[in-house]
Amino acid sequence: MYGKGRIIPALIIFLGLMTSPIWYKSGEASKMPKPEKPKDYTECVAPTQEMRTSHMVLLNEWRDDILREGGARTGKTPNGTEYIRSLQNGCMQCHSDKKKFCDACHNYTSVKPYCWDCHLQPKEAM
């Protein structure tokens, strides 16, 4: 083998970079987020799995529907419970603690929604 002095270190750097997520030690391995669920309510506006994957789409739909199309402020769950289609007055009514609910998963997956550029964060706002 020729050029050992350069090729072997280069390969080691390559392998090190490629496997860096393995060496990158996190305080505790795979600590899953546990968003705090509201105590007084058992039902959300959509099934849990749908909310997990698509709540941001729902929020965007509400915004477009209410602000741009003049849609209704209230909606009904499949079970008939009425709710307010609003982030601050709807979602945050039950999920009142942003830090314990929203941020738990958002921080875990590095999602920084710009909801809070305009909307007030309950409790934290003051």
């Binding site: 997520p21 393995i22 391995a29 994957t53 698509s54 590095s110």
Partner: protein
């Protein structure tokens, strides 16, 4: 056929991923076993290819030079295109690796009326190649959010810059669109230009289709079919900490198609032209100092028992025979 076969191969891979995601045990196979296997093959394969290349001796300086060599003092040397120092080579390699300088020199030849052959500069290949590679890099680095915990700052910075336009939720990433456009260009270039189409092989089309498939499934997963990112991170971060777990029923099949295609790419990588990733550093035509006129390079495997034999010595040895044969000699 050279286009259709690789296309069918990628469709088949998608179908396999889709089916395997529904079969019991298939999710663990695609989500856990295959990524480890593919990643090991990728790393091992790349290292093997590089070591194998390093076995080829390059005793003489064979750089492709594109400028004036170091010569007499009043002739201006092109220090980067024909480097005679180590520093020049380093500059040349940095420009090549980071800015694809040799693609920047790409030319096109056209026959005009006359007939007249005209050469011109053609920068589109360079432009889309650089967009493609840097978008790919940003996309790969953005994925580190799924493999690292806590998430390093550069990932958040990339996500912020990439989603700068704040379109939609989840936010639209510019690199996704640039990436797709660049692949589309690189594909259309091969199909539309008859001379490029003529030299294009299935091995050229297959990686394009495969990477396109990876990009499309990834975009669909983010914006259309919607996957549970927390469940996915549990799996992917589990892979890096060697404690993978699949949350049953929470991850949609599109994720497994995406992962399956990525694994296919990783496995295919060391066997393919994609090895230019390592090859760009290893090309003797680019990484050698052009100092043939300053340093005598001696072939290392020359047999030391074979002494140099000059013409004068040759004539001394065979003078009589040459004279007999009527061959002119320099010394009588």
């Amino acid at each position: 056929m050279r286009i259709l076969n690789p296309f069918i191969a990628v469709l088949a891979l998608i179908a396999v991923g889709l089916v395997a995601a529904q079969v019991p045990g298939g999710q663990a196979l695609i989500g856990i076993v295959l990524p480890y296997l593919a990643f090991a093959l990728f790393l091992g394969g790349v290292a093997y290819r590089v070591m194998h290349w390093a076995k080829s001796p390059v005793p003489f300086r064979i750089p492709t030079t594109c400028g004036q060599a170091n010569s007499l003092p009043w002739i201006k040397q092109n220090k980067i295109d024909c480097p005679s120092t180590r520093l020049g080579v380093i500059a040349r390699m940095i420009l090549e690796v980071f800015l694809f300088r040799s693609l920047f020199r790409n030319t096109k030849a056209e026959v005009h009326e006359g007939p007249k052959l005209v050469y011109g500069s053609s920068k589109f290949l360079w432009l889309f190649a650089i967009l493609f590679h840097y978008s790919f890099l940003v996309i790969v680095l953005r994925h580190m959010r799924l493999f690292m915990e806590p998430i390093p700052g550069f990932v958040a910075a990339l996500e912020f810059g990439d989603g700068f336009m704040q379109i939609g939720a989840p936010v639209f990433y510019q690199t996704n669109a640039i990436f797709l456009a660049a692949i589309a260009f690189l594909f259309l270039r091969r199909v539309m230009l008859s001379n490029i189409r003529y030299i294009s092989l299935p091995a050229d089309y297959f990686p394009l289709f495969l990477i396109f498939g990876i990009a499309v499934t990834g975009i669909l997963m983010r914006y259309v079919f919607r996957a549970d990112v927390v469940a996915i991170k549990q799996l992917t971060h589990g892979l890096t900490t060697f404690a993978p777990a699949i949350a049953a029923g929470q991850i949609s099949p599109i994720f497994f198609i995406h992962v399956f295609l990525v694994c296919a790419l990783l496995i295919y990588f060391p066997f393919s032209k994609l090895m230019h990733m390592a090859g760009v550093f290893m090309s003797p035509t680019r990484n050698m100092i052009n100092n043939s006129r300053m340093v005598r390079h001696i072939n290392p495997w020359n047999d030391p028992n074979i002494k140099p034999h000059s013409y004068a010595g040759y004539e001394d040895e065979f003078r009589e025979f040459m004279k007999e044969g009527g061959i002119p000699v320099e010394k009588e």
